[in-house]
């Protein structure tokens, strides 16, 4: 079957949104007021994605697989898109005439990620990945009056292009050796160093592109700089949704990775180094976004725990953690964006006395910081527990030990956020009053924090979805 419309509903819905945005970009300025309905429209998308959870099937000459895994991630992507759109609505560093374009690119990138979550053929994966990336290349430098933004944009594009080229090169190796790019056929082939070394090199290069998106060591170097250079709102997007896309493809590709393969051990080592390196670098950061950038390097390492395990349990743990990471990171960025009313980069000291200035935001920040550490009763803890369980089951004891030791390191810098917010005194203005933070949209931050807590206390429902998704990915195994 080439095309079945009911399998494609979430994508079509997003395409319609993009079409609408395109009309706005070329239309008269008076139409721009419709822009404010975008978060609502994206939230409707969550419902649309949820409704299409029941469908499954193959499309586009079997290059596009709709299954529980893809639908699960599409739901999460819509959720993330709705929150980031809402977050970016009143972006202070964005000039007015670029506003519709900004959201157009945001949605395009989300579409790319959505396609990515269903792609089961290497070229399709590649194209979807590029669609997601190119939109971001345009978004990052859109921060007016900030030289660092241009630098960040160029860095992201240049390194992105190099990694793209390498992935393409790797793809050619795989195609050359195995004569197919379909994952379902590739799983039946031999992947051993002794028999098909070229294919192994090829898959390693192809994985590199995903690691770049995920900011896994050693392809993480762009991450802190880009976060720092991009506006807070863009960084919130870059830090969350593309990671989801990378995780979903890794979950799909992991069916290629036989646990006995040398590649898996290499991934485990990368995961360990990524965690340690990211955490150690984050310890000394004072810029909040750089701190979160390095912390995301370490979180990439954590997600790899589930991928390395490779079992349905591990894959579902990785899928669950990806969603949890989306929620807790969005909550953290939500606070940063609300605090930075003029769009500048925040330092740790800018959090001082947040408790007095805005108790609500301080609470959201505390919840997300404790979740990022992996402290109960937050979702971060549950996610980590599932990952550790699955990795230990597959015998990666050393990796689990490194992971828990890394949590101990991470405590320091995440706790620093809470300490600055709760125990330092707030700066006072000329009249001697504490500077209050105007906090519109506190409700949404509160909802994110509540979701993080709820998933920590009752992870059952979402985890069972993740489990179905993990099993669906495992189903690719011969």
């Amino acid at each position: 079957m080439i095309f079945q419309i009911e399998l494609f509903i979430p994508e079509l819905y997003l395409l319609a949104l993009i079409g609408g945005l395109f009309v706005l970009t070329v239309g008269p300025q008076s139409w721009w007021r419709f822009l404010r309905y975008l978060p609502l429209a994206a939230s409707v998308g969550i419902g649309v994605a949820a409704l299409s959870f029941q469908f499954s099937g193959l499309m586009f000459y079997e290059a596009y697989q709709v299954d529980a895994l893809s639908q699960f991630f599409k739901l999460a992507i819509f959720l993330g898109l709705a929150v980031t759109c809402l977050n970016a609505m009143n972006q202070p560093t964005l000039s007015d005439e670029k506003r519709p374009d900004y959201f157009l690119f945001l949605c395009l990138s989300a579409l790319g990620l959505m396609l990515l979550s269903s792609a089961v053929e290497l070229v399709t994966i590649f194209l979807a990945l590029e669609l997601a990336s190119y939109s971001l290349y345009a978004l990052i430098p859109l921060r007016s009056k900030e030289p660092a933004a241009a630098e960040a944009g160029i860095k992201y594009i240049l390194f992105g292009a190099v990694v793209t080229a390498l992935a393409m090169y790797g793809l050619s190796y795989i195609l050359g050796v195995h004569h197919t790019t379909y994952l379902s056929e590739l799983v039946t082939k031999t992947w051993s160093w002794s028999e098909t070394p070229a294919a192994l090199i090829g898959i390693a290069l192809f994985l590199g592109a995903l690691f770049y998106k995920l900011a896994l060591f050693p392809l993480h170097f762009w991450c802190p700089d880009v976060y720092e250079g991009a506006s807070n709102e863009t960084a919130a997007f870059v830090a969350t949704l593309p990671k989801l896309g990378a995780v979903v493809v890794l979950v799909r590709l992991s069916s290629l990775l036989d646990p006995s393969m040398e590649v898996t051990m290499l991934l485990a080592v990368l995961a360990a180094v990524s965690m340690t390196f990211g955490n150690l670098c984050a310890l000394v950061q004072t810029d909040l976004k750089r701190l979160l950038g390095y912390s995301s390097v370490s979180h990439a390492g954590y997600v790899m725990l589930g991928i390395v395990a490779g079992t349905p349990a591990g894959l579902s743990a990785a899928a669950f953690y990806a969603v949890v990471y989306l929620l807790m990171n969005l909550a953290c960025f939500w606070v940063i964006c609300r605090l930075s009313t003029d769009g500048r980069n925040l330092k740790l000291d800018d959090l001082n006395g947040l408790y007095q200035r805005s108790p609500g935001l301080a609470l959201v920040l505390a919840v997300s910081a404790f979740a990022l550490v992996g402290l109960p009763p937050t979702a971060g803890f549950m996610g980590k527990l599932f990952l550790l369980n699955s990795a230990w089951m597959e015998g990666y004891h050393w990796l689990v030990i490194i992971a828990v030791l890394n949590s101990a390191i991470a405590i320091y810098y995440y706790l620093n956020l809470v300490r600055h917010a709760y125990t330092r005194d707030a700066p006072v203005n000329a009249s001697g009053d504490v500077q209050a933070v105007p906090n519109p949209g506190l409700l949404w931050g509160g909802l994110l924090a509540a979701a993080v807590l709820w998933l920590g206390v009752a992870p059952g429902t979402i985890f069972s979805f993740a489990q179905i998704a993990g099993a669906a990915a495992g189903g690719l195994l011969p």
Binding site: A366, S407, G460
Partner: protein, 514 residues
Amino acid sequence: MTESGFPVLSALIFFPLLAAVGLFFLRDERTVRLYTLVVGLIEMGLAAPLFRFDLSTANFQFVEIMPWVPAWNMNYHVGVDGISILMIFLTVLLLPLCVLCSWSYIGKRVKEFHFCLLLMIGACVGIFSALDFVLFYIFWEAMLIPMFLLIAVWGGPNKRYASLKFFIYTLAGSTLFLAAIVAFFVNTGTFSIPELMTHEYAFNFQFWTFLAMALAFAIKVPMFPFHTWLPAAHVEAPTAGSVLLASILLKMGTYGFLRFCLPLTPAASEYFAPLMITISIVSILYGGVIALGQKDMKKLIAYSSVAHMGFVTLGIFVFTMRGVEGAIMQMINHGITTGALFMLVGAIYERSHSREIADNMGLGKYLPAYMFFFGLFAIASFGFPGTNGFVSEALVLIGVFEANYLLGALTIPGVMLAAAYMLRLGLKLAWGQPSQAANWKDLNTREWVYLVPLAVLVLYLGLMPTLALKTINPSVVHLLNQYETRKTLHLESSLQPEPPAQVVQLPATRGTDQ
């Protein structure tokens, strides 16, 4: 569900948490305090059904079990046995007392303070009643957050350093504990603690899991080389924080040894017992000697805690009936007396704004009621006959002597040190040269209200410890029987390499009978 149909333990855990939410709707500081006090009293009322605890069995009672994350076989599973029920009573009792002792001590962010207090109590009850490993770990870690805030926000001048040190020390210790939990799960496929206790584990596995768990517990207790966070945290914490820290938090470590190390890793416990005993004795002597030289009252009591908790771990790791019973009694008694002493330090600090002994002398003449309570809790603290401290210390000492005379002889100086530093403190406070004591008022009604229940408990447990011992006894008998059989089972099976010879010679006589 429980026998009575009423989920007592869940009510005790979640009532304070729900009540904490109610605080957000209150404005006036006085109302907040009264509200929390009433919550504390209701919480005590809710604990009343626990008095129907069956003293004749070692089984877990008031058990509630509900599926939680079926995919990973996690359940919401709570219940109590003789070891935990007394700790729950103590926890519940402390809530209203902590509210009372902070009544005038806490002047800023009153609402948040009581919020943290309620979270702490809910989580602590959760810790002592959890029968699912993950549930236990969640409460164990979740409790850190309000405690961190209690120190970091309402603490003394050095609060930032102290709170960070406390948090990182304890959390870093328990990360490896998490790895141990994962290891147990992967080995058995369950998180249920009673079920885990029925399994046998290879020695190698026990070796590593014991180390991972013991590190977390030893930091929490705290045992000698890991104790450095304690004086800082105690000195900087507000009175209620110090009380909760001393009375409940430190007990979590020893509770962990009893609940997890002995039943789950008996062979490793046996193997590491000499090490644990050595550290315990060092803790007792070291804590005593350092306490003797302190000028700050809170620091003195903090170091005395190191010594007292050394008795608890010593009692546990000699594996004798009386040793373990004494250890559990000591957990309760230390909670009562040290909590009370911290409250008294807080009370005098409100008058003198100093914790230096030198600034608070001459109280015997001007504040006789204060000195009466101080004297009572001080003698209870070093184990004067007739007070609760005597019962537990005597039991531990008998247990230690039963195990090994040399060990007993090594412990005796610790008892004398305790008398020395406590009497030195008491003497100076009562009869030292008064500086400003003449201007201070003696205890007010509120202070009487929170000191009297503790004083009654000191005397009740000291003169009639029978009921408490009866409560503990079946569980301890069960624990030690299980320990003995599983340890020997392991040695007989000889599937694993023999542990070195030092283990075998340790306890010469081991009485599992009464």
